[in-house]
């Protein structure tokens, strides 16, 4: 068995500073987001449109799962209450989960999965670029590792958006439908929650307006090549980052947490 090395080497083993301790809810939010998206992607395993893409989606899911674990492990450390990565992932209820609404949306058809992925990849990639040079060494180390993965994800999902948008009539219809369904969840990504606002003031969370600009430019570029229109004037849903989720998350967690809830306190 290989050793677990999802956690980048730590700069110091010292107890987290007071400023760092405030990071806990934000790191947890990053962890939840990566886990939920990984979980959704992993639902495709064995059911993809072609074997080659089954492997591709599993790779991306594994990247997100690894990233989630790094965040959970760091969050557990920041919290300092002896909770493990699994306690955080498996023993919190839907209203305690902090992921944005976009990533919990069901896979839908392949177009739905691609659009969800591409939009999140745009945010994720540009966020990680910022976190990588942020003031928190541990977060920067995780981002440094993850941004390489994210650079691949965004390439993969952008190319699929282009293929589906500029493919057949059917693929275009499906991808447009997916954009219509999911667009309302895109605003939340860069709308800071109260937690994020506080951390932005302290410099721990990057400026979302700048990230939004980069994201929008990226999306516009890819949509143009895909001959797809960027929706305008859509009412934006939010709440996930404050624990107010769509109904889908409850079912996802019921499945995700089934074993830990049925057999509490055991090692697996």
């Amino acid at each position: 068995m290989m050793t677990d090395s999802t956690m980048p080497a730590q700069a110091t083993a010292a107890a987290p500073s007071e400023a760092q301790a405030q990071l806990f809810p934000f790191v947890l939010q990053l962890a939840d987001t990566s886990l939920i998206l990984a979980h959704r992607l992993s639902e495709w395993c064995g059911h993809g449109p072609i074997l080659e893409q089954d492997l591709a989606m599993a790779n991306i899911a594994l990247d997100f799962l690894g990233e989630a674990r790094s965040y959970y492990q760091y969050a557990a450390e920041l919290e300092g209450k002896g909770r493990s990565e699994d306690d955080l992932a498996y023993l919190r209820s839907a209203v305690e989960y902090r992921n944005p609404l976009l990533v919990e949306q069901p896979n839908g058809d392949f177009a739905g999965t691609i659009v969800r992925q591409f939009i999140y990849d745009c945010f994720h990639y540009h966020l990680l670029l910022q976190l990588k040079s942020g003031p928190d060494a541990q977060l920067a180390a995780i981002a440094e590792k993850s941004v390489k993965e994210a650079a691949y994800h965004i390439k993969w999902s952008a190319e699929w958006v282009i293929r589906l948008g500029d493919g057949t009539e059917e693929s275009r219809r499906r991808v447009e439908k997916a954009i219509e369904n999911l667009w309302r969840y895109t605003g939340e990504l860069t709308t800071p929650s109260a937690t994020e606002q506080a951390l932005q003031a302290a410099g721990f969370v990057p400026d979302y307006a700048a990230i939004r600009e980069q994201m929008d430019a990226h999306i516009a570029r890819v949509f143009e090549e895909a001959t797809l229109a960027v929706p305008v004037g859509v009412f934006m849903q939010k709440g996930g980052k404050d624990g107010r989720h769509t109904e889908h998350l409850g079912y996802l967690l019921a499945e995700l947490q089934y074993m830990q809830r049925t057999y509490p306190g055991l090692q697996w």
Partner: protein
Amino acid sequence: MTQKEWPLWEVFIRSKQGLDHKHVGSLHAADAEMAIQNARDVYTRRLEGVSIWVVESTNVHASNPDDAAAFYEPANDKIYRHPTFYQVPDSIKHM
């Protein structure tokens, strides 16, 4: 079932800098870019490579096994091409 299959591509991987690309297998992809990405996802999951070539299988031209005798056996008796064919006195160094 009238739909066309994605073309087949042959995949070549360089396992580390300084080595040749080596044939590792094949896969299906709609275009070259996708073939490279699929190759990355299929054939380099365990750090097997640092560089990938893909060639659409229909573009690979191979010698015919029936020609094997004509192609390869004539090299058999050209032993003078090998350094061991020549005798060098023991006292001569660096040759």
